[in-house]
Amino acid sequence: MADTSELYKYFEPTVQLNTLALSNIHTLTSWGVGTAAGILGLTGWNGFIFFLANWAVISALILFVKCQGKPSVYFKSSFMDVAGTPLFNTLLSYVLVWTLMHALVYIYD
């Protein structure tokens, strides 16, 4: 009986809304962080470390400020949903912006 109550604990449309809002946050912050990395002239591993450090800060902010410390209320698999799953997509966005800004500032006359 515990199984069914687990399944019905989450209202699916709201969970999807939450996931969409989370992905929007991640996209916008990755653009900001990517611009910073490009302008600062970070290259190679520095750029990825910068990304991960910011990722940790932003995830902590989301968990403690937006979710008020209880991510399982808003997302199904709490911690992984917030910080683990969107990582790769955000990384791709970050690489795009980072490359673009770096080129605009340092490569073009």
Binding site: Q16, T19, L20, S23, N24, H26, T27, L28, S30, W31, A37, G38, L42, T43, G44, W45, G47, F48, N89, T90, L92, S93, Y94, V95, L96, V97, W98, T99, L100, H102, A103, L104, Y106, I107, Y108, D109
Partner: protein, 274 residues
């Protein structure tokens, strides 16, 4: 000479005209084409076909059999047997089948069913919407923007990528970081997904990668949907399944179990006849 190792950083500056006429246009065009595709897909997607009540009844009858088999412990033996008898006889006679006359015939070809035809055509149209613009853009980029360096990647890549990313330029010594326009296309392809989800909302059809993965699975899916579900066989299988289910009621001998739990009786005495 000090022992400092000089980094072999190749410093180059590129003409700002490249930036204005190649870098920005490629990105802008990809965004616009993505939005265009999304809107076009919305226009082209027909209404989903209304399901026939017989189809639904068929599927639900099968589910009912499954539920009975799974939840057999929640009902006493007599109720379970009654339900089992009813369902088995119904399956046997084909009460729930869509068309009883076709019970003994070989399965009808799925292509002849007009409803399914529409669904398949919709799916194929969506695939086309995904693949065609991507191929077009790639061809356009390779035709117009080949033969020169566009951008420098801030991160290093292995030497194997040199051939792919510097496709038009024959220089053996240039760093892999300096790449041609095609690689900018790929970077955009992966990175613009976030932008699309911002502009177009969550479910958007402007995602390039989803089309690539869909292309891979399209082959497998096409073959599987060619066979219609033969419900007669499924019903027979479910009937066999039900007849071998071992029924055990959760509340069997519950009174004695309570006594044993509270120490009023030493052990449960199961009677011979249930």
């Amino acid at each position: 000479m000090s022992g400092l190792a000089e980094s072999t950083e190749q410093v180059m500056f590129l003409d700002p005209a490249i930036r204005n006429w190649v870098l920005f246009p490629i990105t802008v065009i990809m965004v616009l084409v993505g939005v265009f595709r999304h809107q076009l897909t919305i226009l082209m997607t027909g209404e989903p076909p209304k399901p026939d009540i017989r189809d639904i009844r068929q599927a639900k009858a099968l589910i009912r059999g499954q539920i009975l088999a799974q939840s057999n412990s929640y009902i006493p033996l007599a109720s379970f047997n009654e339900r089992k008898k009813f369902l088995c006889s119904a399956f046997e006679e084909g009460v729930y089948l869509k068309n009883k006359n076709a019970k003994d015939q070989s399965p009808v070809n799925l292509m002849a069913d007009p409803k399914n035809m529409e669904v398949m055509m919709d799916g194929m149209k969506k695939q086309m919407m995904g693949i065609v613009p991507q191929t077009l853009i790639m061809g356009w980029i390779q035709f117009f923007f080949s033969g020169f360096i566009l951008i420098k990647l801030p991160f290093p890549l292995g030497l194997r990528f040199k051939q792919m990313l510097q496709s038009g330029i024959m220089t053996p010594n240039m760093d892999v970081k300096w790449v041609s326009s095609l690689s900018w296309y790929f970077i955009n392809l992966f990175g613009l997904r976030g932008v699309f989800s911002l502009i177009l909302g969550g479910e958007n059809s402007a995602d390039g990668i989803r089309d690539m993965t869909a292309m891979g699975s399209m082959g497998a899916m096409g073959q599987q949907s060619g066979q219609p579900q033969d419900y007669n066989k499924l019903f027979m299988a479910m009937k066999d399944n039900l007849s071998i289910v071992y029924h055990e009621w959760d509340l069997a001998n519950i009174e004695q179990r309570v006594f044993v739990k509270y120490g009023k009786q030493s052990r449960v005495f199961t009677s011979a006849a249930k």
